[in-house]
């Protein structure tokens, strides 16, 4: 039976998944390279290796992400907004609202029962509320971005960042570090600033039903917990696969839908 692929070249990371019968049989994630085409090639190669397959084995491939039109092997490209919707639906069939925090953008979407995006909003030209914000702050704190979530749980009195602007917030964080504020309190403050920014965006689509978070930041429990408080909603966890893969999964699901409908048509 046909094997499909989805490849999502983002600004910070690139991901690819290989699917067979609507199941993931291989996936790969890497730090994006300067050229989108190289990132796409490496991501798909990694996913194919994981599945023990070669490029010729893929019947249909959809590309997404900012490098979506630069993939030599992709049969078609779809915007990451639609792909995240589809991917979220695959990760959690009951999802009706999706908050996706990617490397350089943040999106909130409302889905219909087919996982089609009914309404969306995305951040404008500003790094606050994106993965990049957390990355810059983690760098200043001298830690890995993945440590920010667990760290903030230990906080006793989180700091308040006066500005959500990445550049100004960075200066604030350095000031707190210099004045000896415990690092966990700073980390928690960073997560809260991020969550506040995302909550404003999420509220514009009027979240309802089951809410799912996708993108790398979904793995930061500090941000998720604050966001839940701010929105007054529970945020479901994607257990079926890594939520950071949602865009690539959605692309592969669309590729799968495309070839099945072709089979039905012929």
């Amino acid at each position: 039976m046909s094997i499909v692929a989805g490849c999502d070249v983002g600004s910070l990371t690139s991901k690819a998944v290989i699917m067979k019968h609507n199941k993931i049989i291989g996936s790969f994630i890497l730090r994006s390279k300067p050229r989108p085409r190289d990132s796409a090639d490496a991501a798909v190669k990694g996913a194919l290796d994981a599945a023990g397959l070669a490029l010729e084995d893929i019947t249909y491939c959809i590309g997404t992400g900012y490098g979506r039109d630069r993939m030599a092997f992709a049969d078609h490209s779809v915007s990451e907004i639609s792909c995240h919707g589809k991917g979220a639906k695959w990760l959690l069939p009951s999802a009706r609202t999706v908050i996706d925090i990617g490397g350089q953008d943040c999106k909130a979407m409302k889905l219909d029962s087919d996982g089609q995006v009914e309404r969306f909003n995305a951040n404008d030209k500003c790094a606050s509320g994106t993965g990049r914000f957390l990355e810059v702050m983690a760098n200043v704190l001298g830690m890995d971005i993945n440590e920010l979530g667990p760290l903030s749980r230990k906080a006793r009195s989180p700091i308040t960042l006066a500005s959500t602007c990445t550049v100004w917030a960075q200066a604030d964080v350095i000031k707190y570090l210099n004045s000896g504020t415990p690092i966990e309190d700073i980390g928690a403050g960073v997560n809260t600033a991020m969550a506040k920014r995302v909550a404003i965006l999420a509220n514009t689509v009027k979240p309802e039903g089951d809410v799912l978070m996708t993108g790398g930041v979904a793995k930061n429990m500090g941000v998720v917990a604050t966001l839940e408080k701010l929105l007054g909603l529970r945020i479901k966890k994607a257990r079926r696969a890594d939520p950071q893969m949602a865009g690539a999964i959605g692309a592969a699901v669309m590729a799968y839908e495309e070839i099945t409908s072709r089979v039905l048509e012929n």
Partner: protein, 386 residues
């Protein structure tokens, strides 16, 4: 058609150069509510000022500051750089507060940059209401403007040559609306970006030459086969747009076409003729103010919504893209109302905020536009492959 694109894409276009070569005057104006016929009647070429080809913002930022619409800032930038030194006159209007301030900023910049204030520099007041007294006031403003032009350019503007100008302009309007109907039809023969380039060209070219070009274009269009692959019919509305690239962004690499728009550089005011039988000044006033198609006009929201709905229906629009330039309160606020009212009637809408100027926002805008088009494609399959 190529001429329209050339004119739309550069300020110093050939028809303008040819006009100046004959030593004839040119006056730049800044708002769709300035009656171009008045200048035409005086033998002056009226050109709508545009901010295309801006490649920096040092001058614009210096006089305006950062938190303001980038359109008038681009105009000032170009003025400061000397790009508009060829105009003999400028007419500034209070389209919105940002545009009104162009008057002050330009004058102030004139103290620092030599020769950027044209000999005829005129502030043309346009009321925000078209009701009784507003209309009377506007008629008076037109009369003042005529008197000033007569005085400065040493010309006489009679009712007769005003009438002749109205006839000439109406000729273009009728041609444009005929071509427009070839675009809004179920099987369009003209793309949105071509149509838009043609309407922009109309704000710059000498009218007789423009009418001639339109006539030829229309003849060639009537032989053209319908455009292929038009599956999503889009309407574009909102803040000032004088760059066919924005429409091209929607139409390139997609199965969408901009079949209708409601933009101040577009066909919205060109599409209907000025009354040829009435007193010319009142007819011009009625045409340029009476329709209240711009959100700067007070108390006419319902009328503007009705205009949109009618266009949506006539042009079989599948979705509306509403854009506004950052800090444009007028369109920003009205787009929010339109979105609420149109979505309530089941018309999908996309709201975009952008910067005016060279298409720096391209990637960001394209992502949102594509996602919106995919939303409109619901029920269909995703791909016909590359």
């Amino acid at each position: 058609m190529q001429l329209f694109h050339d004119v739309a894409n550069q300020i110093k276009c050939q028809p303008l150069i040819d006009w100046k070569a004959l030593n004839r005057p040119v006056v730049g104006y800044t708002c769709s509510q300035v009656p171009a016929e008045i200048f035409h009647a005086a033998g002056i070429l009226p050109i709508r000022m545009r901010g295309i080809e801006t490649d920096g913002m040092d001058i614009g930022d210096a006089y305006y500051g950062p938190f303001i619409c980038s359109f008038p800032k681009c105009l000032l930038q170009l003025v400061g750089k000397g790009a508009y030194k060829f105009i003999d006159g400028a007419v500034i209007t209070p389209g919105c507060d940002a545009m009104r301030r162009l008057d002050e900023c330009w004058r102030k910049a004139g103290e620092d940059y030599d020769g950027i204030i044209p000999g005829f520099f005129y502030y043309f007041d346009v009321p925000h209401k078209a009701e009784g007294h507003g209309m009377e006031w506007f008629v008076e403003e037109i009369e003042y403007l005529i008197a000033e032009i007569e005085d400065y350019f040493k010309v006489t503007i009679t009712d007769e040559n005003l009438r002749a100008a109205i006839l000439e302009y109406n000729k273009g309007r009728r041609l444009l609306s005929e071509i427009e109907s070839m675009r809004t039809s179920e099987t369009p023969v003209v793309s949105g970006s071509d149509m838009f380039a043609a309407t922009i060209a109309g704000t710059v070219m000498p009218r007789a030459q423009y009418n001639e070009e339109l006539t030829q274009w229309m003849a060639s269009l009537s032989q053209s086969p319908p455009m292929e692959n038009v599956r999503k019919r889009i309407m574009l509305i909102g803040s000032i747009t004088d760059d066919p690239d924005l429409i091209r962004l929607i139409e390139t690499d997609t199965d969408a076409m901009v079949v209708a728009e409601n933009l101040c550089f577009g066909v919205r005011s060109e599409g209907r003729p000025v009354d040829e039988d009435a007193d010319p000044i009142s007819a011009l006033a009625e045409h340029y103010l009476g329709e209240s198609t711009c959100p700067r006009m007070y108390g006419r929201y319902k009328q503007r919504l009705a205009v949109l709905k009618e266009k949506i229906e006539q042009s079989h629009v599948d979705g509306v893209i509403m854009q506004n330039i950052r800090f444009c309160d007028l369109h920003g606020a009205e787009n929010a109302l339109f979105e609420k009212d149109l979505e309530a009637e089941g018309i999908p809408c996309l709201r975009l905020e952008r910067e005016y100027g060279p298409m720096i926002d391209k990637g960001r805008l394209k992502l949102r536009i594509n996602a919106f088009l995919e939303r409109l494609g619901r029920g269909r399959k995703y791909a016909s492959s590359n």
